[in-house]
Symmetry: C2
Subunit: 393 residues, 2 copies
């Protein structure tokens, strides 16, 4: 018997707290999903991610398709067994990386903060079937379309698969966005068909709402996805160039999405965006930011200025005996000073990268736990305002 | 009241088990001392090293002198506070790195397996006072002699300081070795003088036995060091080109060393060398090998062939579902397959480096615990033979 795929346990305004019931366990929502794009949350092994409180990670279909490949993953019992992570996995469809190759630096445009998901290589052709491209590893020619993406996600064994989409960038025309979104819808139908025929029981398929920054197209795409018979809704593509526009785009998509389906916002993870997303009714988020910032030596911290970033490599931290954040339960804060972290990061020591990664993931997990608790108590508004005003999560 | 600096609790042939009593705690011997040359055991934070069972780490006076420097360390309360390691620290005197700059690739000669301790930069001059050199970081001109080394080790706050020495390589003449060893002896007297005048209570000073591969010089150097009023004996410099010669050199030095003083063997950590060293009466060892092998993807494993190395990056591990070593309690073995580790290492993921580092340190700590227990039971010979024959440590 499969568990109930999504149960909403409380509502607070448009926000909801709930539980995703998946083949590999449950996920309390709203939840942040750390990226294990290449089969590892960078610098951590699986049980450490679990110990931080996370219940789901995101595997990247494109990267895992290139290496280690479907054959190795099948042989090793799927990604859960391969990486030693026995809790739920959601997989990105691979569309973003495939199309990034053709659109140039699409990623930097979609978000103000740089690439949402990493991808390099050479796109050879795109047509109705899918995309041909060269592997960034060895130059081998590879092909991925909706069926190949679904097959790869099945080889991964993901609890939640995403339909193959073209992730349209910001700079293209309305006409391009329109025709791309329509092709994404046709691909969605093929993914739904594949999933009905081949999908294992209990595994979910989310459709991706595209439509760029156009209200009518986002609404239309959301209705199309909802009617396609999917288990959940993901919002992807260009969310605009400013945070305000992003909130509009998310609002348009959610306005036409069924209230009962789980909703994932792709590639978003800034602190204010997580608060706004949860308030708007998003259930899960994935984003490279907390871990990528950590690798670059920037810690997430309470900040009334609304940036929540402390660059530990800057001279200001060189002599500071205090921790990144007083009261934070992570090992970087409990056991080490800013001065030491500054030194480690300047000396390019792995230990520094790892400690800041642990801190940043802890910060985000505290925020998500705080929001789940606040929704249950009907106090999300107060909690969110407190965090936005620079309070500890 | 300072604790008793060294108590031998049992003997088994020439081997001894004991306890070092140091300002920051005790160290059960024989012990392996992981390198925290730059103030971190690479990829691990301090409490993780402690959790592995290690009771002392080695800080490198030269590296810490260059960065973060004495001033920062004093400001931050010494290396213990700076790196969050509150157990004992032994410090290398810096001589090895200083002289490596002048002798070219001395390190690769001293050991068959590559550099024993890392060091780069430009040596400008050596004389009776000490050595002038250029920082490998910023080209600044720096000076280190016996007094500067002792001052730096005091700023570090090391529990065991090593006297400043010239680490003579293998390729120099007997005459050079002779005059270098004599200068090292004069420097030892200055270090002992400095330590008497300025050393904090309870902190120990070890002298370093030099003398190259010459039996008479090693014996003479050991007698000189023992009579200089040191708290312990370290054996340094060229130990020869073959393992057999190394054992001879160690034997000559120990033959003239007081039976009651603690003895440290510098830069040695191969499995068979640890067994031979403990049998010969060595109490502590430091070596880059376990952690450096880990960073290069080579795991320590039981091996009747006497190499104890498994290159996880080689194709043979690509599909292996078993762990590095059945029964090993480390997270790499308990939670992950060789296939996953192979993949992580080939993808240059930090997680892979870290997991193999954890395994290798676990392997060495199991060996040292096994030898301590065996000495207590009078069974070191049997235990050592079992490990040398490929048994688990």
């Amino acid at each position: 018997m499969s568990p109930d795929p999504f149960t909403i346990t409380s509502r607070d305004g448009d926000a909801r707290a709930g539980v995703l019931g998946l083949p590999h366990g449950t996920v309390a929502t709203p939840a942040f999903v750390p990226l294990a794009s290449t089969g590892t949350v960078k610098s951590l092994h699986a049980s450490e991610v679990s110990a931080l409180g996370f219940e789901m990670v995101l595997g990247n279909t494109f990267h895992l398709f290139v290496r280690p490949g479907a054959e190795r993953l099948r042989e090793q019992g799927g990604l859960h067994e391969f990486m030693g992570w026995r809790q739920p996995i959601i997989t990105d469809s691979g569309g973003f990386q495939v199309f990034s190759m053709g659109h140039g630096n699409v990623a930097a445009e979609i978000k103000r903060t740089g690439s949402r998901r990493q991808g390099q290589g050479v796109l050879l052709s795109i047509d109705e079937r899918g995309a041909r491209f060269r592997s960034y590893l060895d130059g081998a020619e590879l092909f991925m379309g909706p069926e190949e993406s679904m097959e790869m996600q099945a080889a991964i064994g993901s609890d939640i698969a995403l339909a193959f989409d073209e992730c349209t960038p910001f700079h293209v025309t309305r006409e391009y966005t329109q025709s791309s979104t329509e092709r994404t819808h046709r691909w969605l139908e093929r993914c739904v068909g594949w999933h009905r025929e081949h999908g294992e029981a209990g595994r979910l398929l989310y459709g991706i709402v595209q439509g760029g920054v156009y209200e009518d197209m986002r609404g239309e795409s959301a209705r199309f996805v909802a009617e396609a018979g999917v288990d959940g809704i993901a919002i992807g593509g260009s969310l605009g160039q400013e945070k305000e526009q992003m909130r509009d785009v998310v609002g348009w998509a959610l306005g036409e999405s069924p209230n009962t389906l789980p909703r994932h916002l792709l590639g978003i993870g800034d602190i204010d965006d997580l608060v706004a997303g949860v308030r708007a009714g998003i259930d899960t988020f994935d984003c490279a930011t907390p871990t990528r910032l950590g690798r670059h030596g920037t810690a997430l911290v309470p900040d009334p200025g609304g940036r929540w970033r402390l660059d530990l490599t800057a001279p200001a931290s060189a002599g500071v005996k205090g921790p990144i954040e007083e009261g934070c339960p992570c090992p970087a804060c409990r056991e080490h000073t800013r001065s030491y972290l500054h030194y480690l990061l300047r000396a390019r020591e792995l230990t520094g990268v790892r400690l800041v990664t642990l801190h940043n993931l802890t910060f985000v997990e505290r925020l998500m736990t705080g929001m789940r608790t606040a929704i249950g108590a009907g106090e999300l508004e107060v909690y969110g305002e407190r965090v936005l005003a620079g309070g500890a999560p």
